[in-house]
Symmetry: D2
Subunit: 334 residues, 4 copies
């Protein structure tokens, strides 16, 4: 529908689809409203709809995923977070520690992340841990520490939501980007809930999710109305045991063909070791990624989790410099 | 602790562990209360605890998973569901359709499942579907239909819980066994919630979860106090595309060594085709599985989901007969 | 072609196919000669060939694999090795040590393998080892030891061929079944060479070979004229690290549908531990395997390779007894 | 040993190792001779050897792979092929068609490969094909065509050896680099044979080979005396079916740590589609690869095999230009 389509106009389209024997999904995003017909679409003729008031265009979409498909939306989606564009020519590196530990640690992290030239900060307050007996995150207090540290440097914050019951708390803390973690990529009730708000969502790929399953998970969010979705590859599970996961760089050109959504890479979880991060980061940018999610800690040796994979402030700064060269070579900035 | 340990006795043990600089996890199950020390256990001496009142025994457990480990509990756990034992010498086949569709369908399913000799029935009311545009289950109404159909034949019911906010509804419908599905195996908040009740839980293996991750997920439930856990293997994801998943039969002897929990197999989701189910079912029983979770539908061709993998009533009945022979050969009944 | 088709009759069919613009593959097996047309088969009409002298029947085969496909040959192939049938109702267990070490060891192995009721013996003289610095097998001397030990108990021998230049030596030692190992499943020159002789071949599945690739590898042997092929599943590589490989039991019913060739299972390499072998063996037989390839050693603790996975004589004997029960249940003998 | 160590000096070291109860492997490469002790090395003291005449240094190597390990040889190995260095600061792109088809095709390919700035050419004369009924390569004639076309532009040639019996033919055609393909990575007899000559070897990674297995395969070649080994990653097999293989970019920094051998990447087989090649190539160079093996064909639409993945001359030329930018950014040339 057109940006200024009225409810009445939407209603007419919906009724028409239903009268032709199809189900309807209405997804009202901030930029566009998409009305999907569910059923055997081949029986519907776009011409029946193109002439209706408020309709921008109608089309058959062959892919299982519709709203997120490149077919449905040719241009790259650029998602603005507090004025910072994700998915455009400027590449965004989101730095920060694995977990929020103390206010001092976060203040220090925010300081060095900003100093390195990053425009967004990450930090985990609720941590999905394999063992019930390990540190589970600082919870609400962690959100507060992250928010306070970030405000000082004017950095929008990214943090992971695990439990649907915590969504209100996230909104109260003005979380700028909600991260859905690997283990929850197919937690469909969680996807539907973050689909009902406007906050941008980083959707991490499941550890053995196919491209198709991943895009269908994004479609769950989009179908509920939130079109501000950023895909994040973070390494997949294979037979190889020499490193934690295998960073799937091929997904970058493939996703760029299949979807209009921004694609970012998490080189820290992929390799699992800080010394692998620079090579993987350079590869990701060279392959066309729109951004990175990188773990960095004021003092990695004392990190409460994933100490092995966090870059120290100097190495993080050096990485930013080396990425600028790659970005320029391919006609982008950082 | 002893079965009849008092709160005061438990408190003394907890305080002693804490005074020695360790964290504590108290898991109050229906049959036993397990107190775990968290931290560097090697510094604690079992002798310090064995003499305390109410203590049955204390030990070092090297495994990451403690309560569910065979090390901590030598005998097989037998979980009673309405008087039906799971994990003992009698093998339980849990039959039923992929999804609850109508009252008629469920009545018919319950009838043929009971007629084939099964003692429990399954049916999905909330369905985790890859696409947001496909049938998502009948929801609460489905729970009601399942309950009503099962009551007629005195069959305890098994059904999947996806959303933590639905737990009260499950309890209201007296769900006898709560299934945690593959995609939610590491939905830790959901695991913690089902850990707070006594209802037995079937914990399906994640599609690419290692044995260790799976047992750690079970440990999440156990650490919260629910020890009535049944593990269910349902096929893992590999490179092979000739069938949906690869049934990992090796996990049966391995789990029997690592844990005291019952292990059942879902041959329907593993292969993805009804004609594979008999061979996989026989293999599972021969390898030592404690039960099966099998999809069967009054009329598979008309099933609303996974039509390809449901057995029709006659094939299901034939399967039950052939399994009896295998069970007898290895000294078990069915 | 009919069993008694003459060369002249074969020649007429070949010329006809060529005159219609297709390539030809002639595979002369001991039981039948198969003439394949290569190219766009849809353009050929079976009716053009059915009436030619010597032609038994002609048909379109849609599968990529032709001679080994069930489509081309409906009945199960039964391969006779010194009068012992593989692929019929009698299940064959092929026992023996990983590697031939000494004459004493092999004599002792042959004795206990025969005593347990096996009709064939295995032993490796040429060993494919991951490291160039570990024991590479006794070579030709090993073949001699195996032959001598087996003769005493009238056991046909199975041993692995790695190097095409060793084929004559294998024939001189009257190797009864040539094993092509996992690492050589797609060593196409080796496959072509064993395709030029009549000796039955056990073709092990590559560690991450799909069903289709495996059958195509068998087709290489068949296309060269040797139709005496036995497929052997030995565990596939997955993400799981708790055991060496994952035994793919699902391949049994799938192969039974796709091909007429016998299917056997190697439970020893699959699990990698002797204690897993009984459960996996029972599962394999219950799922419909035509036989097993099991490692057993007179004294596993002293085995020169894979000591962990060999059964001792008593455990091996016990396994044979327990398998008899399973075999009877499914209407087979052992 | 020193470069100018005499046979007598080598003999003294060998005898000393043997007298201490260890086995010996002597690997005489063109640049150095490495003497390895096999057995429990911890019992040997380097001091016993360092003072012997001709000994450069002696050390314990903990890795299973010795000669190829970074531990044994700190500097990057640079392999010279007709004066062209592989493994140094200059990156080498080896271009050419999947298979040699005709002299015209090869002449044309050599022309455009040279014009794009490549210094080496590839082309397959013996093709490992999944099906026995598809084009198996032009064989010896193909070697001749490749040689003739390459000579005109002074390009060293790279081509795959599948059958150990063809090695002499390869030497007669002055093949400059012998490629060992994915399917033969653990064809140990083939590895040993190419280990007995000096011709550089490109060892492709097996489709599901671990880093450790791959380096052990290289060690087979090295242990036989050929130290001129180039490792080539070409995509690994995973669960993902949206593309042929997953290019494992992480292996680049990991191999650079573990071994001194050059590492190149084959982006064509990894993705399986020409349109993926530029992104994967840029990623590989950015991650630190020493070169690329890229399929390009004068007319991809008419290629006899893998038509989908070959770049046309213009796209290939464009790729070379874009890679120059990346190379400069990281301080290398191309």
């Amino acid at each position: 529908m057109n940006n200024d389509a009225t409810d009445a106009q939407i209603d007419i389209v919906v009724k028409k689809i239903q009268s032709l024997g199809h189900g309807v999904n209405i997804s009202r995003g901030t930029k566009r409203t998409v009305i999907g017909a569910i059923g055997d679409e081949q029986k519907l003729d776009p011409k029946l709809f193109d002439s209706l008031p408020g309709v921008e265009y109608s089309m058959h979409i062959v892919k299982q995923y519709k709203i997120v498909s490149r077919e449905s939306h040719k241009q790259d989606s650029v998602i603005e977070v507090c004025g910072i564009p994700i998915g455009g020519s400027q590449i965004q590196v989101i730095g920060g520690p694995c977990s929020v530990e103390t206010q001092d640690q976060m203040d220090s992290a925010a300081q060095h992340v900003a100093a390195a030239g990053c425009r967004l900060i990450r930090g985990g307050a609720f941590k999905p841990r394999t063992s019930p007996y390990t540190f589970q995150g600082k919870g609400k207090d962690g959100l507060g520490m992250l928010r306070q540290a970030a405000n000082k440097y004017n950095l929008p914050i990214v943090t992971e939501l695990m439990d649907v019951r915590m969504l209100d708390t996230f909104l109260e803390h003005d979380v700028d980007i909600i991260q859905i973690g690997t283990r929850n990529m197919q937690n469909f009730d969680l996807l539907k809930e973050v689909g009902r708000i406007d906050t941008p969502v980083i959707l991490k790929r499941g550890i053995s999710a196919t491209i198709s399953e991943w895009l269908m998970a994004a479609e769950y969010i989009a179908a509920s109305g939130n079109h501000n979705i950023i895909l994040c590859e973070r390494g997949i599970r294979t037979f190889e045991s020499a490193y934690r996961n295998v960073l799937d760089i091929t997904c970058i050109p493939v996703l760029k063909r299949e979807t209009h959504l921004p694609v970012i890479i998490d080189p820290s979880h992929a390799g699992g070791k800080a010394w692998m991060v620079p090579a993987l980061s350079r590869a990701a940018i060279a392959a066309g990624a729109d951004g990175l999610l990188v773990e960095t800690h004021p003092n990695p040796a004392e990190a409460w989790c994933d100490a092995d994979q966090a870059l120290n402030p100097q190495d993080f700064k050096d990485l930013m410099v080396s990425l600028q060269g790659i970005a320029q070579t391919i006609g982008r900035s950082i």
